[in-house]
Amino acid sequence: MTALLELRHLTVEYAARDRRAPAVDDLSLAISRGETLALVGESGCGKTSVGRAILRLLEPTAGSILFDGEDVRTMRGDVLQRFRRRAQVVFQDPNASLDPRMRIGEIVREGIDIHALMPRPKAELRVAHLLEEVGLPASTAARFPHECSGGERQRIAIARALAVEPEFLILDEAVSALDVLVRQQVLQLLATLQSRRKLTYLFIAHDLAVVERVATRVAVMHRGRLVECAPTRQLFSAPAADATRALLAAIPRIPWETRASGEGR
């Protein structure tokens, strides 16, 4: 398997911050095609900065970001435009990421229009299909974001991301604001979409319990540094870094009964 995305010595420093503590500190990481790499760590560890640097939403201080062999940092013109179609993002709070004045249909269609992928009537048909693909009725297109539930809004954000046929999706705490049942449904949807569309995911999260269900591999960040990266099962059974152990310890330990002992009443 070849790497779709490769980060080499990525460093991000915010100007106002202390120079000795970069938000992202010399981070190297590769994501293979078709896998789900989870990037985890507590608040402030730098995981969101990594996602934003990949999307060119912020300028790294040093290092390179190779997408399909090309450096994202030096992309321009058509190449950059193409990258912006191939890499999409779903944020944590669909309340803040969906324009409240636009109808759902327009929100989902916007990317298709920007990239001039197809004429208007065809695009509208496309939007209807996308909404159905994420488990919403096509009639949702006529509604506004505030008329939808949190789970519906997150499905809409996913449909919008898929509209431009991306290969790579950054899911930045995409299910953290959802209630456990809705979260499970959205995770299920993401898994289905991934196998159907051969998507590659960077799944940014603070909650290892969620990551355990979806990730192929897990990368753990602590204070801007990558402290461990391992296949999911291995990371859970034999964590190597202190920061990983701390995250594992934070998962609520539910006192499951051993199945054999039939509880009385």
């Binding site: 539930s149 909650d207 934070a250």
Partner: protein, 266 residues
């Protein structure tokens, strides 16, 4: 043991503009809570959990109608005057909410907000109220409470804000603490710390705890008994271990399965 809290046939509804029938949010909810008991209220979004917490606190919006009875500590809360209810709040029954940033006054220092609880309930001496506040902040695990007390809510972390809210809720040593999704807005590591604090305070004070959450993981580590709400109904009221081992209703089972690890626990 006599119940500390007894909820009988509690119904809450709200009139919807343009809709002739009011919308039912809670339907015939009944359960009891003994002194010192820890009970979880589990349910998906929209199941009525928060409405229940607000109803018990007498904090329902004006256009909500509540019927039935809520007996607490010798009072019937639904028919209690606002003044009498206010004197029960904080002193006997307290609440912490999910989002500490909106629950705190952004323009007032943290220490002053905690001290205000003491002053509102009879502490006339400002210095003593402040000292009480700092002491309480330090008991809820706020590092360097003396210094933190002088900060504004936006100047401290989410976990620290939740500790400050807890300090306000616990200052007057209530018999019942209602915690409505107290850790949902927090990072997992901070969530673990706040839950640990909540458990420690509950044990130390022997107070009753009603912990409202959509996440059985949060409830299972803290509450001996769990009430499951679905569409405003109590569909299950059972020891938490029992719920984990054998949920009786399909809606409860879904909530249990949602937190079950991918492989069966060894």
């Amino acid at each position: 043991m006599t119940a500390l809290l007894q909820v009988e046939g509690l119904c809450v509804s709200v009139a919807h503009p343009g809709n002739s029938d009011p919308v039912s949010l809670l339907r015939d909810v009944r359960f009891a809570l003994s002194p010192g008991e820890t009970v979880g209220v589990l349910g998906a979004s929209g199941s009525g959990k928060t409405t229940l917490a607000l109803a018990l606190m007498g904090l329902l919006p004006r256009d909500f109608t509540a019927t039935g009875a809520v007996h607490f500590d010798g009072h019937e809360l639904l028919s209690l005057s606002e003044g009498a209810r206010r004197s029960l709040r904080a002193r006997r029954i307290s609440i912490v909410f999910q989002e500490p940033l909106t629950a705190l006054n952004p323009r007032q220092r943290i220490g002053a907000q905690v001290a205000e609880v003491a002053r509102a309930h009879g502490e006339r001496n400002a210095t003593r109220a402040h000292r009480l506040a700092v002491e309480m902040l330090s008991r809820t695990g706020l590092d360097d409470a003396d210094e933190r007390a002088h900060r504004f809510p936006h100047e401290v972390s989410g976990g620290e804000r939740q500790r400050a809210l807890l300090a306000m809720a616990l200052l007057l040593d209530p018999a019942l603490l209602i915690a409505d999704e107290p850790t949902s807005a927090l990072d997992v590591t901070v969530q673990a710390q706040v839950l640990q604090l909540l458990r420690a305070q509950q044990r130390e004070r022997g107070m009753a705890l009603l912990l409202v959450s959509h996440d059985l993981g949060v409830i299972a580590t803290t509450c001996a008994r769990t009430i499951v709400l679905h569409e405003g109904h109590v569909i299950e009221d059972t020891p938490t271990r029992q719920l984990l081992a054998a949920p009786e209703q399909p809606q409860s089972r879904a909530l249990v399965d949602a937190v079950r690890p991918p492989e069966p626990a060894p």
